[in-house]
Symmetry: C2
Subunit: 195 residues, 2 copies
Amino acid sequence: MSDQPGATVDGRRARGQKRRAEIIEATLAVVRRDGAAGVTHRAVAKQAGIPVSLSTYYFATLDELLVAALSSVADGYTARIREIVDQHEDKLAGLAELIVESAGPGRERALAERELCTLAARRPALMPVARRWREGVAELAATLTDDPDAVAAVVATSDGLCTALLIENAPADAEHVRAVLGRAVGAPRTRRPGR
Amino acid sequence: MSDQPGATVDGRRARGQKRRAEIIEATLAVVRRDGAAGVTHRAVAKQAGIPVSLSTYYFATLDELLVAALSSVADGYTARIREIVDQHEDKLAGLAELIVESAGPGRERALAERELCTLAARRPALMPVARRWREGVAELAATLTDDPDAVAAVVATSDGLCTALLIENAPADAEHVRAVLGRAVGAPRTRRPGR
DNA sequence: CAGTAAGTTGAACGATTGTCCAAGTTGGAC
DNA sequence: GTCCAACTTGGACAATCGTTCAACTTACTG
């Protein structure tokens, strides 16, 4: 954003960017472990193994740090969504797998995203970032239907299913998630072998 | 919960219960204004117009206070849901109206509920309370369909739509919400004037 | 080589926090 | 009336917080 995108001639700046990324990752680790409320300059610094003042050198205020962390998370998520859109045959099934992760190994990650998004609703600077998350799912849905109501339904259902898995805290069934998503897109499509 | 339900012979205890309720309400006011992160014994005490130590007298720890606040919120919400189930003709429309409030006057309230629910995902003691919220919507949906998938879809969609309104931060259309909800319940019911 | 900007460090500031405690006040029990 | 439990109060404790600062190291520029 400050210089040419790809050109990093200065090795010092290169190391700086790397440090910056490390601090963001440490921040996300703290959010996963202790929640957004646990994010303090000191906690992040300890997690990253650096002195406190180095954290404030890169992110003068705690808000800056949270914005950067949420942006990083949103980037990762939209990347995965795009991956599904480009590669997956059954895109709803791909989305379902992604959602089901929230009940298993990706639980802490999903929780972290959720907390940061909740934070976003109160800070105007974070709102566009939080919106990006949903737009990814909307793009996926747009490849399946032209009905804007159906797109909205898929986005809402995805979000709600994720919440359900986090609160229910029980093993999730990808097929069930897929079925509920299919209901949102409205098509009476896939085989339902009958129960 | 501690004594006989209706019998409060001791006037001192009666005043105590009233104070307790006041403190909970003050807590919710703080959450609405500053978010869950803004809840401190001191902030709540100032909001309620009482000394700090009185807040700790009724809620020894901050967690106790948050549990009580979330429970109170959940009670209010389930009451409104039941009201819709009992009285409303078109129950989905009633649910839609309730959801649309999140974009208008009830925004801060919805945000507060959301923050407390997010908190719940991390504290086992709060999980049953957060679940109660969803069970209300599930009961409403159960009056409309027998398909468990459809019930899950309505619950998920309601939650996701609420999130959308909070993040989008734009005026909401109750009919649109109603349409998306109808899609979840699966019935090819309402008029669809064609594409 | 010197010059300089980026990166790094430890210490410190005042402010706020959760929680506790000993002393008061109130009002029902008897 | 006494007695006691509930309620109320102000003050205090150590701990942690965000942020700032001056000094130091590194490594690129010229």
